[in-house]
Symmetry: C2
DNA sequence: CGTGAGGCGTACCGTACGGTACGGTTCGAT
DNA sequence: ATCGAACCGTACCGTACGGTACGCCTCACG
């Protein structure tokens, strides 16, 4: 099981990154628009070059997803001092980052592509997206949760459970509906409610796991 | 925007349903395995018949998803008498139905297919799955929530918000991880924890929205 | 200036698959 | 018994696309 491999920015030359950008654009424009010919034309390069650089279509797809997923870098959150206030602020920051990421067209495209890929026993892309999406958040959130527990701000038996609850409270049914192309859920529609949703999620999480409830 | 059309069981003849079963089997076995030739061979019918009955490949796909999605009928929940106990039991029932549905191979396949479809500006399948999945649950859960609110068992400003919170608490990151083919999340793995997850979700929901907390 | 590597553009090949055509068979209705 | 509709199986066509080959250009390097 080849897990997601770290991708330095030096992994691809600028020219190659231009190609990957073209590939991603085509993906976003139309999920199945990533044909080798189309990428070559869009990036003004020859198909032969594509095959030389990426091996085959799957290699190009993988490189594109990998490269793009890796640059979904959410800003780090200060956790030096752990007051209730700081914790709530951190939680809101996480929720905000998670939501804004998830509703982005690039993220939707990447997830759709990976899911399509996973439907064909090829789960490379699935792992890559998982690793750079939910798992990345988990890795960053968990230590904060545990620090808060040690500081007696939170109480939970299992940090994994706590993390997953947080994820559920934040994401709810938004992601699946966007992936399925729910027309009632436009991006601007969701964007407008981000702040209130973020606050609500943090509130609810603190209600469930906070030691002394909220402020 | 052709929304999901109600599908009676008389919509398709038994022979046609056999064809649709074959199509679904192929989909489950391998997401992209639904070729007209393969369906014809599997169902022991001619391609000409397929085209006569379903128009084209997309029609066959749509019929398959529609027919299958419509038979995901979750058992109704008794809501005649609304005690706290009965409410909790109803919530747990909903959570259980939702979870068991979501982790089923058929559901995963349908969602993957619809998402792939939605990636190509064809959002028919997306709407069908939405309508028979999240929306079906919502339609059934909302009146119960509102009845419980009227009975002063729950308190929430907005039944839509309450429903979505419930959804998030139940589903968490399970669906997206399954769709992405997360190997760490086998079906049996999830199945084993359903009962405790269901109880936890109901507890948390009642903590957040219950008027007098839990029993 | 010569040369060779890298890369562009295009033409080309093979295959898989959507869609059509057609001969042969079953079967119910008259 | 006859007829025709429905349907099976197979062969066939056209196209799209993955992958390869090749001619030509550019440019760094000697």
């Amino acid at each position: 099981m080849a897990l997601a491999i770290k991708v330095n920015e030096e992994t691809f030359t600028p020219r190659q990154q231009a190609v990957l950008t073209a590939a991603l654009d085509l993906l976003v424009e139309n999920g199945d628009g990533l044909t080798m010919t189309a990428v070559a034309r869009r990036a003004s390069c020859s198909k032969e070059t594509l095959y030389k650089w990426f091996g085959d279509r799957d290699g190009l797809l993988t490189a594109t997803v990998q490269w793009q997923a890796a640059k979904v870098r959410m800003p780090f959150v200060d956790r030096s001092h752990l007051s209730v206030k700081a914790l709530r602020s951190s939680l809101e920051q996480f929720a905000r980052d998670l939501l804004t990421t998830i509703i982005g067209e690039v993220s939707i495209t990447l997830n759709r592509t990976a899911i399509t890929h996973a439907a064909q026993e090829k789960d490379d892309l699935g792992n890559i997206v998982l690793e750079n999406g939910p798992m990345a958040i988990r890795r960053r959130l968990k230590p904060i949760l545990e620090a808060a527990r040690d500081a007696r701000l939170l109480r939970f038996p299992n940090s994994e459970e706590a993390y997953r609850t947080f994820y559920g409270l934040v994401v709810r049914d938004v992601q699946i509906r966007l992936l399925l192309g729910d027309k009632a859920l436009t991006q601007s529609n969701v964007e407008a409610n981000i702040e209130s949703d973020v606050k609500a999620a943090a509130d609810q999480f603190l209600t469930l796991y906070g030691v002394k409830a909220n402020s």
